[in-house]
């Protein structure tokens, strides 16, 4: 075992593969938050009056709120007055083709292994690339337009489809929902908007690559996906970030609306800079994600969380309509000094609603991983069902794995099952693999990948590959 420990230590020193920074000429607002900044953001984006009012309402709510401290997280105090709430890439002329995209940005995507100019040919994935809050380029619009699908940046949606945005914005996550959602609602810069009309099956996987670029710029993304009756969409979100010494706050809000018989599958691969081995730097990922499922609708969250210094999020489903379905599949890896307090909330309101939760937490080095979840069966949730399985894997002496589920049941016909286990990789398992010629590292990687398989199976093909690669890379830096 001492050899393993040495290897672990050695590998812990491996530096962040995607640690680099690209210099973009940014237009940055002075640090600090007040009503004028909110007005500035709204004006910069040429927003209608109602949206400004909405932002101001959120700002007023946020001002009276306090940052919550109930999570099992050690958070350095955040100076909200030191954050700059607006940054945009330099205005470029409207582009005719991909060749006109800023070479710097294209280069950045190349480093990430996402050659944007090849996306169109290589995969059937439309990419809405976000660099520091403003969409730089959007592809595949035409194919989507043929199907009647609207997939654009949030700012474009506000200009082109204000009625759709106005109807659904804040309908799932109200402005005063929580501290970070209120903050986001006041200052959100951009994000993605997706609308699938009645009866349409979206012809391709939709994807957005988020990337944090400017120093001292909080990212406040806003995503809204509306799936009309009988529609279907699979949305992919993934991100990596450059190395930083200062903590960067990311407080996004994602709202999903699945109308009758619609299905939304939302997948995330998150690999932001986790900070160095001393816990310095790294992204604060405080996200509010929630979906509302109407009658016979289905919302499925799948997440692979390997990055960020602190991950604090609970993708949730409000199972409002009868027979609606909610799913949550999660792999969360905390290594180095990473902390994760993540899980899901399933609120069963409709009759015959079902939800399932599969959570896999992996803790390595000094990482702390907490599953926190709520399953709530309201009085009206006749014959509702939930199945929850939370497994934790501990790889190391100094890490921690915590499971804090809340189960609240007010209907006797509801059936709820919760199972959790915590274990470590056995010496015998490793020995068996090594005996068959595998290196310790390969063996560990295989065992951990096996542990996560139930979740990886839920990912769309494009992401399953990336997720496995990410997990291996992340593990390289923390365990043998």
């Amino acid at each position: 075992m001492s050899e393993t420990l040495r290897e672990i230590e050695e590998l812990t020193q491996a530096s962040y593969e995607y640690g680099f920074s690209t210099d973009l000429d940014t237009d940055v607002a002075p640090p600090g938050l007040n009503e004028d900044i909110v007005r500035l953001i709204s004006a910069k984006k040429d927003e209608p009056e109602w949206l400004l009012e909405w932002r101001l309402k959120a700002y007023a709510a946020w001002k009276d709120m306090e940052q919550p401290d109930w999570a099992k997280l050690n958070i350095e105090p955040i100076d909200y007055e030191a954050i700059s709430y607006w940054a945009a890439p330099k205005k470029k002329p409207v582009l005719d083709s991909m060749d006109d995209v800023d070479p710097e940005i294209r280069d950045m995507f190349d480093k990430l292994g996402i050659p944007l100019h090849e996306q169109k040919m290589l995969s059937n994935v439309a990419v809405d690339a976000i660099v520091d809050s403003v969409s730089v380029t959007t592809t595949f619009k035409e194919t989507l337009a043929e199907a009647g699908v609207i997939f654009c940046s949030f700012s474009e949606a506000v200009q082109d489809h204000p009625e759709l945005v106005r109807e659904h914005l804040g309908s799932v996550v109200p402005v005063r929902d929580n501290f970070f959602a209120a903050l986001n609602s006041a200052v959100f810069s951009d994000g993605s908007f997706c609308y699938i009309p009645k009866g349409v099956r979206c012809p391709m996987e939709l994807s957005t690559y988020f990337r944090i670029n400017s120093q001292n710029t909080g990212q406040f993304e806003r995503t809204l996906i509306v799936a009309e009756d009988d529609s279907h969409v699979s949305y992919l979100e993934g991100c990596t970030a450059p190395q930083r010494d200062e903590n960067q706050l990311h407080a996004a809000v994602v709202e999903l609306v699945a109308k009758d018989r619609a299905e939304i599958k939302y997948s995330t691969v998150q690999n932001w800079y986790p900070g160095d081995e001393n816990g310095l730097g790294g992204i604060y990922n405080f996200v509010t994600k929630r979906g509302r499922a109407h009658t016979d609708a289905k919302i499925s969250w799948t997440q692979v969380e390997t990055g960020s210094a602190i991950t604090w999020k609970y993708p949730s489903v409000i199972l409002q309509g009868d027979r609606s379905v909610g799913e949550f599949y999660s792999v969360a890896l905390s290594s180095k000094r990473q902390q994760a307090d993540t899980g899901t909330k399933m609120v069963h309101i409709g009759a015959d609603t079902t939800s399932s939760i599969i959570s896999k937490g992996i803790s390595a080095a000094q990482g702390q991983n907490t599953y926190r979840g709520l399953v709530k069966m309201m009085r009206s949730a006749e014959n509702a069902r939930n199945y929850t399985q939370c497994d934790s894997l501990l790889l190391g002496k100094e890490c921690g794995a915590h499971t804090i589920p809340y189960i609240e049941v007010k209907n006797p016909s509801a059936q709820v099952e919760h199972e959790a286990s915590t274990s470590t990789v056995g010496e015998d398992q490793l020995y068996y693999c090594r005996q068959r010629g595998m290196t310790e590292e390969d063996a560990m990687s295989m065992i951990v990948n096996g542990f996560c398989r139930e979740v990886f199976n839920e990912l769309p093909m494009e992401f399953a590959v990336e997720a496995q690669r990410l997990l291996s890379v992340s593990l390289e830096g923390s365990v043998g």
């Binding site: 002496k397 794995a401 499971t403 809340y406 609240e408 509801a414 919760h418």
Partner: protein, 419 residues
């Protein structure tokens, strides 16, 4: 929660007097629990706010009721505490070789060192524990020497009767089991009052190496009352603590356990039943801390909730760094019998060691329709079939109790014996 006096109880050492003053400050700091306090999330906060605590009277009101008809019939020593003060007439403080049974008041006067840990304030964050430290100066002290096998149970009966203000009473119980010794302690909590009020009972248990204690709590106070029970256990090397709790009475019945497995190879086994009717809220709070290697713990709780009752299970397993070889399991199964009943269950695992095997599970459901149908098809009336199924579910907890007289009391109380 408020206090009726800024003068704490007296007795014992100077350190205890300091702790009591500190406890009063702590009460002022903490204030009554709110929904934001995780451990009190589902408690009736308004009613808790109406409780008042103050120094206990010198002696409780004399009992004019037939106590024996409402408590299990156990031979052997017993201590009866009425509204926080020992009723010596009703108590049987028989002395047995190797065992010292006294009142907490006497122990404070004669051997305060034996109860010193009971009065340590530390970083107490439970306002009712602070109240108990400040005002609880009577109750029972059981001190068992090394190498004693006690085969008869020691019975502590806490009785709530109508009293003057304050409406809350504090009782302290201190149990020490010496090395290689074993004992059984039954704590029965009953009452004869239809007035609002609360009992606040704090039991401190220390188990030396290889000691074994079976500790049974029977909570059956009137449904106008609040019952707050807290059992703090510290376990030494290879010791065994078995807790059996039956949470049946009170408007709000709270049975909290904190168990510290400090000695290697210690074993804690806690099981219980909560059975709610009417508007009752029955709350179980468990915190098991694995602080030494190779300890095992088991938690197995069953809840049955009828009418508009609410059940709470908040069970924690906390594995500290270095507690390798920990084996911990926890389960909570619940039966909801009514559309208005509610269960809130929270099985928590907090693990900071890597060579561990921890599991927990929780289920919530209703009576099995197929089983009901099966019985009805064999001529068993619906009501009876329902009762049989409920009894079958609840009896699993009853079967864990080692004393026949206590099992009989529980089955009688649950109305199982007349099926």
């Amino acid at each position: 929660m408020t206090i009726s006096s800024t003068a704490p109880a007296v007795g014992g050492t100077d350190a205890m007097a300091d702790a009591r003053l500190g406890a009063l400050d702590r009460i002022a700091e903490l204030g009554p629990p709110t929904r934001r306090d995780e451990a009190w999330r589902y408690a009736p906060h308004r009613q808790l706010g109406e409780l008042t605590f103050g120094p206990s009277p010198e002696s409780g009101p004399s009992l004019s009721v037939d106590l024996d008809s409402v408590v299990p019939t156990l031979s052997g020593p017993r201590i009866v505490v009425v509204n926080g003060a020992v009723d010596r007439d009703r108590s049987k403080l028989a002395s047995i070789d190797g065992i010292r049974i006294s009142t907490l008041g006497d122990a404070l006067a004669e051997r305060p060192e034996r109860v010193a840990p009971h009065f340590e304030l530390g970083d107490v964050d439970d306002v009712f524990l602070a109240a108990n430290i400040a005002f609880g100066n009577d109750g029972a002290v059981i001190h068992i020497e090394d190498n004693v096998d006690l085969d008869i149970p020691i019975h502590i009966i806490d009785v709530a009767v109508p009293g003057d203000s304050p409406n809350g009473t504090c009782t302290g119980v201190v149990v020490h089991v010496g090395s290689q010794s074993s004992a059984t302690v039954v704590e029965t909590r009953v009452g004869f009052t239809d007035a609002f009020g609360g009992s606040n009972i704090r039991t401190s248990v220390t188990l030396d190496a290889d000691a074994t204690l079976e500790h049974i709590v029977l909570q059956d106070v009137p449904t106008e009352q609040i019952h707050l029970s807290r059992v703090d256990v510290t376990q030494g090397l290879n010791s065994t603590f078995r807790a059996r709790s039956f949470n049946l009475g009170a408007a709000y019945g709270r049975l909290a356990y904190t168990v510290h497995l400090d000695g290697e190879g210690a074993h804690a086994d806690l099981s219980g039943l909560f059975f709610g009717f009417g508007d009752q809220t029955l709350d179980q709070q468990l915190d098991i801390t694995h602080a030494a290697p190779n300890c095992t713990s088991r938690q197995s709780y069953r809840g049955v909730l009828d009418d508009s009752s609410t059940g709470v299970f908040n069970g924690g397993i906390d594995v500290k760094p270095g507690a390798d070889g920990t084996d911990a399991e926890q389960s909570n199964d619940n039966l909801l019998l009514s559309n208005r009943a509610e269960i809130n269950t929270q099985p928590r695992l907090e693990i900071l060691a890597d060579e561990v095997a921890c599991k927990h599970g929780a289920t919530v459901g209703q009576l099995d329709d197929t089983a009901l149908y099966y019985m009805r098809s064999r001529g068993i009336p619906a009501d009876e079939a329902r009762r049989l199924l409920i009894n079958g579910f609840a009896d699993q907890a009853v079967d864990d109790v080692g004393i026949g007289a206590v099992r009989d009391w529980i089955t009688h109380r649950l109305g199982h014996d007349d099926v």
